[in-house]
């Protein structure tokens, strides 16, 4: 077993049929590489929890370092949770109906102990109607945008959201939807606000997504979010299926409505492959699932060598509902703000040619 797959076995501890592993034979340099990788992937908590349950055999020195790194990771999580409370209190006071997403919510609600699941920023979902006010409130509190908006008003109507950096260094990912591009545009966003489960943080009930919506968000993040899927997102997918009361049938039904069953299928396959999990009915469904035409051409914008933000934006045309909305969307793609074009694409003409060249083919 390679050192990397050994680590992946470490990440999968606590899931069914995963054999105990030993890190005792690793030389110091390899151990250092592995623990640094775990820190950067924010998976130290998974290893620490497994070590505590004696599912990973380690030397005393390895154990000491793991414990120290775990403490560092958890200190950061507390600072981020407080930031999340501040942001959500501000939004609530302004009448914005927000939901805490991903790390902080999943850590408390879907893992046996929140110290298993690390995270590095704060993710908050707001409805489109409250999006601009939410940005304004964050800016008023001293935060600044990390990236320019494609064009004024674009994010509120078509965008995924915005990364905001607070003066204390905490990053707030303000979401309007789960991902950029077609799969983000085909989600029925109103559904995400229909129910009101909560997580209790610092004595305050904070609204979150339902378990099925949390699972779907984890799938979008795992299957589409990064070129190399994030370990935490993949573990969230496996964790929710194998160690929670997730109603997978209901989640798949929702995914079908959102034209994203292929996203769920891809996330499940990636998670099972990553952690070497035993094949199950979920995997059989994922392997036999056939993407629709919309799903195939949309997936091509997120996955593979031609993945790019410009391609996702262009592919989004097919998901925008209504003729006038489509026209507005296309107009935005070819008439971006000069600032955005300068920073992201090296100029208007280059952006135009890129958008055109990356247009999905009919077929």
């Amino acid at each position: 077993m390679s050192d990397l797959s050994l680590l992946e076995r470490g990440y999968s501890q606590g899931l069914p049929d995963v054999p105990r592993i030993s890190l005792v034979g690793l030389d110091d340099a390899t151990w250092t590489d592995l623990i640094n990788l775990a820190v950067s992937e924010r998976t130290v908590g998974l290893l620490a929890h497994a070590a505590q349950l004696d599912l990973i055999e380690m030397t005393e020195d390895q154990r000491d370092e793991l414990v120290a790194r775990h403490e560092e990771a958890m200190r950061l999580c507390l600072v981020l949770e407080r930031a999340a409370l501040e942001v959500l209190n501000t939004f609530a006071a302004a009448g914005i109906d927000a939901r805490l997403l991903k790390g902080a919510a999943i850590a408390h609600l879907d893992y046996p102990d929140p110290s298993c699941r690390g995270f590095g920023d704060v993710d908050v979902l707001v409805p489109s109607s409250g999006y601009e006010e939410a940005v304004r409130l964050l800016v008023a509190a001293g935060a600044r945008r990390r990236f320019q908006e494609v064009r004024p008003g674009f994010d509120k109507r078509f965008g995924k959201g915005v990364c905001m950096l607070r003066p204390d260094g905490v990053q707030i990912d303000l979401h309007r939807t789960f991902v950029a591009g077609p799969f983000g545009l085909s989600i029925d966003l109103n559904e995400l606000f229909e129910q009101f489960p909560v997580v209790r943080l610092g004595g305050v009930d904070i609204p979150v997504l339902t378990r099925e919506h949390r699972f779907l968000h984890a799938c979008y993040h795992a299957a589409l979010g990064d070129e190399s899927p994030r370990t935490t997102a993949l573990r969230d997918v496996a964790q929710l299926i194998l160690r929670s009361d997730l109603d997978l049938v209901d989640a798949r039904r929702t995914a079908r409505r959102w034209r994203a069953e292929a996203v769920v299928a891809r996330a499940i396959q990636l998670a099972w492959n990553k952690f070497g999990l035993t094949a199950s009915s979920e995997v059989a469904w994922a392997q036999n699932s056939r993407p629709t035409r919309f799903e195939s051409r949309s997936l091509a914008a997120y996955v593979g060598p031609n993945r790019s933000y410009a391609r996702q934006m262009t592919a989004g045309v097919h998901a925008v509902r209504g003729f006038s909305a489509k026209v507005a969307y296309v107009r935005t793609l070819v008439a971006v703000s000069p600032d955005y074009a300068r920073i992201h694409d090296g100029g208007y003409r280059r952006r135009l040619s890129r958008a055109w060249a990356s247009r999905p083919r009919r077929g």
């Binding site: 775990h70 407080r82 110290s115």
Partner: protein, 97 residues
């Protein structure tokens, strides 16, 4: 002169509602409301934190810890006084009426 409050035997103590915390093999890290950074509770501090999940008088806490560690009550009482006072001062623990 100490800024720490004095904890009476019949004071009912509990974790501060607004405190954020995580437990692990390292102990317990707790972020008090308004604090710049988390503090760590190690050793018997972790046990104390566990007991403070429920409202307890100082006397109950002392007895529980003494029983848990097979230690003399008077020794635990002496050791715990400054710890509890510090936790109250930091806002990690609060008294209940």
């Amino acid at each position: 002169m100490s800024l720490s409050p004095v904890v009476a035997n019949d004071d009912v103590l509990i974790r501060a509602k607004a405190a954020l915390w995580r437990a692990g093999e390292f102990g317990v890290v707790v972020l008090a409301p308004g604090a710049a950074s988390p503090v760590i509770l190690e050793g018997t501090g972790s046990d104390l934190w566990e007991l403070l999940a429920r409202p307890s008088t100082r006397q109950e806490l002392v007895l529980s810890l003494a029983k848990r560690f097979f230690e003399d009550v008077s020794v635990v009482d002496t050791d715990m006084s400054p710890v509890l006072e510090q936790l109250l001062y930091l806002g990690i623990v609060e008294t209940q009426p």
